[in-house]
Point group: C2
Chain length 335, copies 2
Amino acid sequence: MRVSIKDIAIKCSLSVSTVSRALNGDYGVKDRTRSRVLEAARELGYVPNLAAKELVSQKSRLIGIVLNDSEFEARPAFFELLPHINKTLALYNYRAIICTVNAHSYSKGELPDLLTLRNVSGCIILSAFRAGHPIYEDIKHMNHPAVVFESSVLTRTCSNINTDEIMGAYMATRYLIECGHRRIGFVNGSEHFEISRERLAGFRKAMDEFRLPVSDTQIVWSDYTGGGGKNGVELLLQRHPEITAVFFANDLMAMGAISSLAEIGVLIPEHLSVIGYDGLFICKYYNPPLATVVIDNPALGTKAADMLIELINGSRGKTVRIVPQLFRGKSVKQI
Amino acid sequence: MRVSIKDIAIKCSLSVSTVSRALNGDYGVKDRTRSRVLEAARELGYVPNLAAKELVSQKSRLIGIVLNDSEFEARPAFFELLPHINKTLALYNYRAIICTVNAHSYSKGELPDLLTLRNVSGCIILSAFRAGHPIYEDIKHMNHPAVVFESSVLTRTCSNINTDEIMGAYMATRYLIECGHRRIGFVNGSEHFEISRERLAGFRKAMDEFRLPVSDTQIVWSDYTGGGGKNGVELLLQRHPEITAVFFANDLMAMGAISSLAEIGVLIPEHLSVIGYDGLFICKYYNPPLATVVIDNPALGTKAADMLIELINGSRGKTVRIVPQLFRGKSVKQI
DNA sequence: ATCTATTTCGGGAACGTTCCCAATATAATT
DNA sequence: AATTATATTGGGAACGTTCCCGAAATAGAT
């Protein structure tokens, strides 16, 4: 059997209560006693029993990381967030557990039920769901503290975090303009996601700032997939053959477009300049290296974990936006 | 306060013991009683207290998913494994928690200590570490059951799972040969990883089968990174300008090579055929779509979880190899 | 030295389960 | 009907903590 607080008590000829207080740094135990206890704990190789702690304190120190189990392709970088989230939570003695839900089969109340079943004291919703998806209604009303990504849900017990999407899209568009492009197309993702509207706003902001007219036809709504990028750019070039640069709302669409354009002899960036969004690490090794808006995943992960701890400790929900960076790659031509 | 087994007992005018047995499907409770209990549990919205269960049973039903927190780039597809591992574990009422270690700062005993601290009853080591890394010594001797990826550690309480690497490399090489290539180079990953030796063996096997000579100079040892792919192919082409096809031991190196070759005007597949390994989903959208050996991540994840459950239930460690598939892409030319 | 205030410690209930063993109810046998 | 066998239930300890409250020890004041 593992060594318990009781074994330490016996070894030190103390009561269980005193040992508990000594171990937890509680007030009311003599310095000398405390060091004796700590020493004995170390010698015996004491490891606290988390189940017992949970049981008596009625709190679990367990955090649910919520993933949509089907749409991993949409955001490969989520994986990069995990170590940072986990490391930060560990600092506060929290453990991160994986919770998966399926966006399509989701039924009302599923998330709070899952969190209750898994006995977590808070959660971080990594995956984004379409605006109006029932999960957001659940998040708004459940009593588990939550931090959500890529959605502006904000309640007393729910914070949201994301890249500053408008700024990111603005930076991308502005970069194209600064490279001399004037006739610029935008292949957006699905209109059902919040980020799509924000990225569009950023695109418009940059175009407006440089007094470049934006017609509805130079904006194509797609779906954030590689195939969607292909279709999007085809439609765009059919409508506007005069376009010299395209901003894709994510890297995956940009890549899908580039690889299919190559087949019909359209070279990047010689014939068309392209910039993406997300900063997938693979962009550096794309052919050509893909210009993109880089999301700061380490910062996002660390901050999200911090925000959840704050919520658990009683703070009210808040909104945080992280500043993105530009990677220039080689897919944009100076003209 | 949450509803407990006691509340059900009161509602049904039964003892706590009987309710416990009814809920757990134990033998010795009348059908009528059991259904009354189940009904009451449903009505009251009973959710079992996992901490109490853990405490009394001395088992945690928690599984550690071990990740190397710095080398995520080496294996982006790990993220895809997570939902499958988690779903399978959930079937057996296990929860998956994230455990991160750092390959560089790792000190002996760190993993078993971490697993004890986190109170898990087994673990799945997702990340691969270099052969001889101290973590493998720990894995061999610790008493937590473990399933490791990409390493052949095998003990009574430790199973290993992986793609059939030799077959995968064989399939890739054979595909190049079948497309008419005879002078084929191989850019391998770091010699410190087991998979590198296996992929080399698969390469050799295919070459031998077709009686194609293999000199040491047509094999380059690199490091599985994009930059390493670039350096590797440069060295290779310098030594053997007559080479018409290159097999890279992973997709990342293949991509790094392709994007840098493009800068000096080498076109894929017109001037050089390329095939990778891993089956990153992004291969489909690479320019050109990258031929590769596709690892069956869903199968790997599901099977790994199954294997861990078996170990926990007392089975001895075993070795499992999953069959990979070929994706032909458009980076290999028929000659 | 005595009394009071303060610090330090110990006893024991409680958290929500499981599981062993005893008690009771029911069925089977004579 | 009495006895025995079996099926079903209940009582209560145990798991390892925390925390309240009272007891003991020490320090401070007179």
